[in-house]
């Protein structure tokens, strides 16, 4: 099985949150990389990530790209996106759920989050992306 982005998204389709790990130096990568960019080993393996992490920073977006507009987001219905530091080390961007994007002042950096698998449409327009839900 290749260590490709296509494979990463295939896993997401099956609700599996996967990264790659370098067997030589142990570094975990998300995005999943096909070679280790620290020690340049090619000995990589897929590892399932816990999906748990902390919110490092965020924004609440009022003017979104086409796919978010199609989902009904606009100035009156903003959505939240952020950057999450995962328990295993890597950092990743995702949509932040379980918060009120109309009240950004109340969203706390450092909140514990858990991965959610988000999807829109079928066929050629099919799209998967990462979400993280603020816990508690």
């Amino acid at each position: 099985m290749g260590f490709s982005s296509a494979e990463f998204y295939n896993y997401l389709e099956g609700k599996k949150f996967m990264g790659t790990r370098c067997k030589a130096c142990g570094k975990v990568y998300l995005p999943p990389r096909p070679i280790c960019i620290e020690c340049f080993s090619e000995r990589m393996e897929w590892v399932e990530l816990s999906g748990k992490g902390r919110l490092l920073t965020f924004t609440c977006i009022s003017v979104g790209p086409s796919f978010m507009v199609e989902l009904g987001h606009d100035r009156k219905n903003p959505y939240c996106c952020g950057i999450v530091k995962l328990a295993e080390g890597p950092q990743v961007s995702g949509q932040i759920l379980g918060v009120n994007p109309k009240e950004p002042e109340k969203i706390k950096v450092g909140s514990l989050v858990k991965v959610e698998f988000l999807k829109k449409d079928e066929g050629e327009k099919k799209r998967y992306w990462l979400g993280f839900k603020v816990e508690g």
């Binding site: 995005p31 003017v63 790209p65 961007s93 995702g94 950004p104 990462l130």
Partner: protein, 421 residues
Amino acid sequence: MPKAKKLGREVAIVGVGMSKFGVFPDKTTRDLFVEAFQDLKQSVDKGFDPKEIEACYIGNFTSDLFEGQCHTAPIMADWVGQIPKPATRIENACASGGIALRQGLIAIASGLFDIVLVGGTEKMSNLPTEKVTDALAAAGDVLYETNCGLTFPGLYATMAKAHMERYGTKAEHLMKVGIKNHRNGALNPKAQFNMSIADIMRSKQEKARKEGKPVPQWEDEMSFMKDDLGNPVIAWPLRLFDCSPITDGAACILLVAGEIARNFTYHPVYIIGTGQGSDHSLPEREELTSLRAIKEAAKQAYEMAGVGPKDIEVAEVHDCFTIAEIMAIEDLGFFPAGEGPKAIDEGLTGREGPKPVNPSGGLKAKGHPIGASGVGQVVEIFHQLRGEAGLRQIPGVRIGLTHNVGTTGGSGVVHIYERRD
């Protein structure tokens, strides 16, 4: 310590040109580029023959998405009479222009060419805002950065929030950057917003009056900036006037070997330092409140030039968003990390201050035609160092700097300039 890198020979700028920046429904990239080229011809004191140009390096982000036109460089070269010479397009998103300059510089320093035309051009206003947002998102890492719905303002907003969280930066600091740059832009006839925030307030009130609508009242520029109607949120904490506009425009530079510079002008501007760096996509970075690619580029440029941040007398920095200017003045070493907001409060980066930044109005007020922006910055520095910047002239400046960022800092390029008489 490794020895600082040096250019193979000296390179100087002897002329610059710029189209008006703005929204021009009837103009394409090539029309804008011709306008910039005609302006450049006027700027070469002793005159020059366009036939002497040996190669063209053209910065352009995505005429592909904006106009459905790829392979832009040979078309630009053709429109300014440069067939059959080599013409190469440089695409590093918003740093395309600055890196086109660097490629032209390297080509001359290598000895391959003596006279090079560097340009930048972008026509953005053909598409509706939603499609422009999509095209800009393509400059991000589409698989792992923008796929979740993060827009460009959104990505910079996450950096703004991180800066606020770490250093106590306030939305007011961002607003003050916008107010300053619009005051400068008001003095720049080629700026898209040739207006201060106060001018914009008055024009909105005038419009409401004419349309018979209730006339909005704002006490001062800051109360306008804080008003959800005057200045709506785009990606919290960033508002409309924290974001550079959608702009059509072009700019170009005549770059020549140092030894022939005085054949073209009495006052060449020498490029004494160049640096360029790269970085991972934003989510992967350890540091979310500064740009590593820029710190790397600045280090290279300062070392080559043999000058430090304190020697820079005027700078044009990449304020695609107001937070980007605060990070820029910290990353360039003008102020310590976290102290950019204090410098803004104290007016240190204003035209009258000790460290004038973006006297042109910056990307914020002058406009941000992506591939042209990095070249437009050089146009301002050339005029400032030669004392030709009119009402916005900073008196007596001899050493200047440009700071041009690609995407969220995935690439960065810094150049340092000196006027020698």
